[in-house]
């Protein structure tokens, strides 16, 4: 079984081909930070109001450390306990993607914050900005929740691991990041910060896949050991999601202040609750909030991209291509 302790090295016969396919699909979507043009955003930043500047500065301060935290949990917990070589291939790839994201946000901060002191302060946000520190502490608590557990022997061990996995997928990648992306797309819906939005598109795409991988691990464990998924676990997950919504909401209050047209704490609350319900539904749990999505601009994220090549780089191209020259295939 997937969570049985050990170091399985056998790829054939492959037990979980889905994980391997996810690994291959991820490779086909490689992107590099050098492809993103962030300098075009500087003109937009220059004309922002102080409240908007504040929002952006807080947001990038969160981004500065968010992906590093995820990468740490991946190494400290996920890689250790998901015992299938094909799943570990995916996690290795995910680790690379987290590194690209870290590099992207490093480049973003270097570009957006030319002042060295301001820049250093943004990187240190986890220590001195309460709304960011609280979110980080939520993450650290769950990183540490497995304690020194080296082997998932008992059912309780495995449930503890599942909570950690679900926390990072549903609450951190699936809620904290989704909240942050909404601010970026709100700016873009007003024609602002196109460079950040382009990179965010790619980060968003990657994060979506990370989340879906984690959920498919949950699905697999559920199929193998359905007895782990008792009411208590469900209640714990719901409580964790509530805590995450509250932390993200405090962050929103810090970012938005009194709010701007189209982006207020109240709207953010509804959006987060809506997203949280989606995560619970994906885990087979009842909706906690029953709130509708208030952000029409997020509808745009669901549909196909048609970039006008004069203006933005098309991000849709695949990386790996297979086959040989022939003349008789249908097209």
């Amino acid at each position: 079984m997937l969570l049985d302790p050990g170091m399985d090295l056998t790829l054939r016969p492959m037990r979980y081909p889905d994980f391997y396919e996810r690994y291959r699909a991820a490779i086909r979507n490689t992107w590099t930070v050098e492809e993103v043009d962030l300098h075009s955003d500087l003109a937009d930043l220059a004309k922002m109001t102080p409240q908007e500047r504040h929002l952006i500065n807080r947001l990038v301060a969160f981004f500065a450390t968010g992906d590093s935290i995820v990468a740490n949990n991946l190494v400290l917990n996920l890689y250790q306990h998901v015992n299938a070589p094909e799943a570990r291939l995916y996690l290795s790839r995910q680790l690379f993607e987290e590194a690209v994201h870290v590099q992207f946000y490093l480049t973003l901060l270097d570009t957006y914050l030319p002042d060295h002191d301001e820049r250093a302060k943004a990187f240190a946000a986890v220590e001195h900005i309460p709304s960011i520190r609280d979110k980080a502490e939520f993450c650290f608590r769950w990183i540490d929740s497995l304690g020194g557990l080296r082997r998932l022997e008992s059912q309780d061990d495995r449930r503890a691991f599942l909570l950690n996995l679900i926390c990072f997928a549903a609450c951190i990648e699936g809620l904290f990041f989704y909240g942050a992306f909404a601010y970026v797309y709100w700016f873009r819906s007003r024609g602002l910060l196109g460079g950040l939005a382009t990179g965010t598109n790619w980060v968003f795409r990657d994060e979506s896949m990370h989340m879906e991988f984690a959920f498919s691990v949950v699905d697999t464990v559920r199929a193998e050991e359905p007895e782990l998924f008792d009411d208590k676990l469900g209640a714990q997950v719901t409580r964790m999601v509530e805590e995450a919504v509250a932390a993200e909401l405090a962050f929103a209050a810090d970012l938005c202040g009194e709010g701007r047209p189209g982006m207020s704490v109240e709207q953010m609350r509804r959006y987060l609750e809506y997203v949280a319900d989606q995560r619970l539904a994906r885990l087979g749990l009842p909706a906690r909030y029953g709130t509708a999505n208030p952000f029409a601009f997020m509808e745009l994220q669901d549909v196909q991209e048609l970039a006008n090549f004069f203006e933005r780089r098309v991000s849709a191209y695949q990386v790996a291509v297979e086959g040989n020259v022939t003349f008789d295939e249908s097209f």
């Binding site: 699909a25 780089r313 695949q318 295939e329």
Partner: protein
């Protein structure tokens, strides 16, 4: 069923509303903007919201212009002139005819929100300091028309076509007509620099000057020596073309086009150049960044001899142009002979299997969408400009629809405009689809004004001016073909679509050639007419045996008398921006999705296929469930049980149509396209096998050029606003693999 576009998207009075602050009384500008954005964001639920948003935006624009005292057309030209934006000539013309011109502003333009938004964000003239608009959309159209007119009647004629969205000139003309520096041309094609340092740096300078004024650049690099070639002056060895192209890349990125959009260029290289393999890697996002050019587009200039060797699975020889400088100025049999002779003399740098190189080209297309396949011999063989052996086409342009001769002294130029076919649908379902008489009228007006741009335009370089005044080429194209097919219920791969599309091309060619002959009679032939095939009595369709009707005979006889004012007339450009202004599908392209977002400088815009929505509404099927299902399926209706079979066939996307049909349509219209067409091809998950079959077919079909290969991302963003499938079914690992999040590797439902 037939409906004109005027009916399908009527109702938006943009720009004529007299500053009524529509729906915005008592609201702050930010709140009004928010109301507009929210209406626009709800287009997915009902396309009607697009008109609501446009109406609100029109009110906002009118009020903004009023802040600088602009209400009438003559006031707007006075204001833009005072701000130093409009030329003396235009200002004087408008001042002299103010009342007559103001009276012309009666038309109501049926803008979609995205069209009006594009006009507002990018085209309306703004005050240099306040950045407030100084004209309304209708003023903008009439200002463009006045910039190209000598009389009020002329201005009225062009304004009428633009205001009804029947015809739009290309963006440079829309940006700059009537302006101080009227750079009106879209494309510039520069011959390869000569193989020497000074020539290469001179070329960078030309590219920069042309780019500054919003032109797209095509430039060949075939004459420049390859890696390892001896440099006599220093007794060292060349590093090949890549370092030069790196410099070009930086230069193109540095010069932004009048502050409006980033510079853009495409580099052409002939397939025998010994650096071709490194050239194909220039856009990769892996490997050494010092050998990458992220801003340049790449195109292969492919001789037939190469394709024949690919077919025969033979060897292909790569040469250093320093050794074989003559090859780039030859095509057809003369090239084949010279190429084989160079091989026989052992001059090749290297030999590789032709299929290995062809496979590399296909891989580049799949990985980057770039490395466009354009065919040197097909481009030259039938061109009106290549009657004399010294006149050779060496490349196409940034969008692969322009084919004109170049040399060191002549930089080819093209002025473009496109007819909106959707605006020419016949008003009643009787007859044969289009209002042919009106289409021809539109073409005649369009050709006259495109010809006018040649004389009125400002040329950033003497090489461009020299070429354009001698050859006087224009590029009239089309947009909205997909709208016509939807309205007439013709799937792209139906025989009816092929027949109609070909007839459209022929009608346009007939009207365009006739008008150019009239212009020649009125104003004289273009100076190099004697060097064209037309002067010898051969028109472009004659090369294909496609001009055998009495009408063509009469036209041929007329041209024998009058000559032609323009050496080339037809080119189908991509029309990305002007199609969104007109609210129609781009040029000859199928739709990419029934629901898609468009990324532009002004943010992301959502579009929904209004023909599909209307059909589904008529059948009571436009429900939230169906809507979500279409979004979940990435804009496809194929696997939605509620959608009837006839609609599934009609509303296939570019990914679902056989690409052979697109190639067949393009091939059938080729006889009437004396330049070329920007033909994108689509393949969701390309493989080398499928691509090599497809491009070999395109070559055999006689296409002169192809454009992007469009493919889809291997993974995708998880949808946030569509209800997720519940986890209950996902507990089964097979069901997980079949998740809609992973369409790329799911065979279960195929």
């Amino acid at each position: 069923m037939t409906q004109t576009v005027a009916e399908t998207n009527a109702g938006t009075d943009a720009g004529t509303g007299a500053g009524t602050n529509a729906g915005g009384s008592g609201q702050s500008p930010a709140e009004r903007r928010l109301a507009i954005e929210e209406a626009a964001a709800r287009v997915i639920t009902d396309p009607e919201n697009s008109r609501t948003a446009a109406r609100l935006l029109a009110g906002l624009i009118a009020d903004e212009a009023a802040e600088h005292g602009v209400r009438t057309f003559s006031e707007s030209v006075a204001a833009t002139h005072a701000a130093g934006l409009v030329a003396e000539r235009t200002a004087a013309f408008v001042a002299a005819h103010a009342a007559e011109l103001d009276a012309l502003i009666t038309a109501e333009t049926a803008f979609e929100y995205f069209g009006l938004r594009t006009v507002y964000d990018r085209y309306l003239l703004r005050h240099p300091e306040t950045r407030k608009v100084l004209e309304r959309p209708q003023h903008f159209f009439l200002r463009v028309a006045c910039g190209l007119s000598e009389t009020v009647a002329e201005a009225a004629e062009l304004y009428g076509l633009m205001a009804s969205l029947s015809y739009l000139p290309s963006s440079p003309t829309l940006f700059n007509s009537g302006a101080r520096r009227p750079q009106l041309s879209s494309c510039f094609l520069l011959d390869s620099p000569r193989d020497e340092l000074e020539a290469i740096y001179e070329r960078y300078g030309q590219v920069a000057r042309l780019s500054k004024y919003a032109g797209g650049i095509g430039v060949s690099w075939t004459r420049v020596r390859s890696r390892g070639s001896l440099i006599r002056g220093t007794n060292g060895h060349s590093n090949g073309i890549v370092p030069w192209l790196r410099t070009l890349d930086s230069s193109v990125a540095a010069v932004n086009q009048g502050g409006r959009r980033k510079g853009a260029a495409c580099v052409y290289l002939e397939t025998w150049h010994a650096d071709v393999e490194e050239f194909l890697e220039l856009r990769d996002n892996t490997g050494e960044d010092a050998r990458r050019t992220h801003n340049l587009n790449l195109a292969n200039w492919v001789p037939d001899e190469f394709m024949r060797r690919v077919e025969a699975d033979a060897e292909w020889s790569l040469f250093d142009p320093k050794q074989v400088p003559h090859l780039t100025d030859l095509y057809g049999a003369a090239f084949d002979e010279a190429y084989r002779a160079a091989e026989a003399e052992g001059m090749a740098v290297r030999r590789i299997p032709a299929r290995t190189l062809y496979g590399r080209m296909m891989r580049t297309l799949a990985q980057t969408g770039n490395g466009w396949m354009t065919f040197k011999d097909a481009a030259n063989r039938t061109s009106n400009q290549t009657a004399r052996p010294e006149n050779v086409i060496h490349l196409s342009n940034l969008c692969t629809e322009i084919l004109e001769v170049t040399s060191d002294a002549e930089t080819a130029v093209c002025n473009l405009g496109s007819v909106n076919l959707a605006a020419h649908l016949a008003p009643s379902p009787e007859g044969d689809g289009l209002d042919w008489a009106r289409l021809r009228r539109t073409v005649r007006t369009a050709v006259r004004f495109l010809d006018r741009t040649i004389d009125l335009g400002f040329y950033p370089t003497p090489e461009a001016e020299a070429a354009n005044r001698r050859w006087r080429p224009i590029g009239l194209g089309v947009m909205g073909l997909a709208d016509v097919f939807f309205a007439l219920r013709l799937p792209f791969d139906s025989p009816g679509a092929l027949e109609l599309s070909t007839r459209i091309a022929e009608e346009i060619a007939l009207a365009a050639y006739g008008t150019s002959a009239d212009l020649a009679a009125e104003r004289g032939r273009h100076p190099s007419y004697g060097d064209t095939r037309a002067a010898g009595g051969v028109l472009h369709p004659d090369h294909y045996g496609a001009a055998r009707s009495a009408e063509w005979d009469a036209l041929r006889a007329k041209i024998a008398e009058t000559g032609l004012r323009n050496s080339l007339m037809i080119a189908i450009a991509p029309t990305a921006t002007i199609a969104s202004i007109a609210g129609c599908y781009e040029c000859i392209e199928p739709q990419v999705s029934n629901v898609f977002k468009r990324e532009t400088l002004s943010g992301e815009f959502l579009q929904v296929n209004r023909y599909l929505v209307r059909d589904l509404q008529a059948r009571g099927l436009w429900t939230p469930q169906v809507r979500d299902a279409i979004k979940r399926a990435d804009g496809s209706v194929q696997d939605i049980p509620e959608v009837p079979a006839d609609l599934k066939a009609l509303y296939r996307t570019a990914w679902e149509l056989p690409q052979k049909a697109l190639i067949d349509l393009a091939a059938a219209r080729t006889p009437y396209i004396d330049q070329s067409q920007s033909l994108n091809l689509f393949m969701a998950t390309p493989t080398i096998g499928k691509l090599s079959s497809m491009y070999a077919y395109a070559w055999k079909s006689g296409l002169k050029t192809t454009y992007y290969l469009r493919s889809r991302p291997a993974t995708r963003i998880a949808q946030t606003t569509v209800a997720q499938p519940a986890a209950a079914s996902a507990a089964d690992p097979d069901a997980v693999a079949c998740s809609l999040e992973n369409p790329e590797y799911c065979d279960a439902c195929q």
